[in-house]
């Protein structure tokens, strides 16, 4: 197993785990407030739709020549990864609120409990919210599985298995605590996924554009820490910038 494959599987597993935590919160909120039948039917329909998307788009992408594939996939992955990394940097720098699963669960449960339901009829509301939750959270993972998997020889199946393993771990953990997984360090994991997606996107996009990396695949061993350091420097600057007004206020308060 090459370093690239290990990175691929780690990124897919972590991205899937973090999205599965968010989807589980939605499904649990619906299951507890509106019943488990519409929640589980919506989940099954969402997962089936995702399987169709991966099954159809994955093999279609591999038909492209490897150079064009790496350019297209690298560009998409880089844009996508920088989006994750930007959000993670803003969260770590204190400019954007951290995601709180317990608060999200309470809000969703309150909202779902307030919507009326007819006795004995199929709960379309519960089904739709679960379906949309699983589909939208899973779409990012499907995108990562397709892009990462199509760039490695026979990579779609291992990437899909890594995603399924993450879903099983998260659903198992949520079932055992019977609630949302508010103790999973989601924001840290998202930061890590952002770093990995950006690094792999940069690597493949550059190769796809026709440039060669000085140390070939081993360049990733420098690229990943470099992306991490660059983003952490941005976090440090943000924190310093936010600390200044508070310090000035504290000094003004002490002086008055």
């Amino acid at each position: 197993m090459t370093g690239g494959t290990v990175g691929l599987l780690a990124a897919v597993f972590l991205a899937c785990a973090v999205e599965a935590v968010e989807a589980t919160t939605i499904v649990f909120a619906i299951g507890v407030t509106r019943g488990w039948r519409p929640a589980l039917l919506g989940t099954t329909a969402g997962l089936a739709t995702l399987a169709v998307i991966v099954g159809a788009l994955g093999p279609a992408l591999t038909l492209l020549p490897i150079g064009a594939l790496r350019l297209v996939v690298g560009t998409l992955l880089l844009i996508f990864g920088l989006g994750w990394l930007r959000k993670a940097v803003l969260r770590a720098g204190g400019l954007q609120a951290h995601r709180d699963e317990a608060a999200a669960y309470r809000g969703l449960a309150e909202q779902a409990g307030a919507v009326a339901r007819s006795e004995g009829r199929f709960d379309a509301y519960g089904f739709t919210i679960s379906f949309k939750g699983v589909l939208l959270e899973g779409l990012e993972v499907a995108f990562i599985v397709i892009t990462f998997g199509s760039n490695q020889k026979d990579g779609i199946i291992p990437a899909t298995l890594a995603a399924l393993a993450a879903v099983l771990v998260i659903v198992g953990a949520a079932a055992s605590v019977r609630g949302p997984l508010s103790r999973v360090p989601e924001n840290v994991i998202k930061y890590g996924v952002g770093v990995l997606l950006t690094s792999f996107g940069l690597f493949w996009g550059t190769e796809g554009a026709g440039a060669a990396w000085p140390a070939s695949d081993a360049s990733l061993l420098v690229l990943i820490p470099a992306v991490l350091v660059c983003s952490l420097a941005a976090v440090a600057v943000l924190r310093r910038g936010r600390g200044r007004p508070r310090l000035a206020e504290a000094r003004a308060g002490a002086g008055s």
Binding site: L71, G74, T75, L76, L78, I79, F80, L82, G83, L85, R86, K87, V89, L90, G93, G94, L95, Q96, A97, R99, L139, E140, F143, T198, L202, G205, T206, G208, A209, G210, A211, A212, W213, P214, S219, L223, A226, V227, C230, S231, A234, L238, G241
Partner: protein, 72 residues
């Protein structure tokens, strides 16, 4: 028409995200890299510089625009 606009809007926001400038800089950086590589130059560093600049510029803009916490 409205449905098509919503469909395209969803994919735009899904892939491009909160700041379209990042996507624009990535495309420009990889384009410059392709041009330099086809001219026989060592071009691997161009996307690296552009990616670092894109991240920093986007974060800097967000910091300037939002002195308070954004939701999400």
């Amino acid at each position: 028409m409205n449905l098509v606009r919503r469909f395209l809007g969803f994919w735009w926001s899904f892939i491009v995200g909160d700041d379209w400038r990042i996507a624009a800089l990535v495309v420009i950086g990889l384009g410059l890299c392709a041009a330099a590589a086809h001219g026989g130059l060592a071009a691997w560093w161009i996307p690296c510089v552009v990616v670092a600049a894109a991240l920093w510029l986007s974060v800097w803009r967000a910091a300037r625009r939002a002195p308070r916490r954004e939701g999400g």
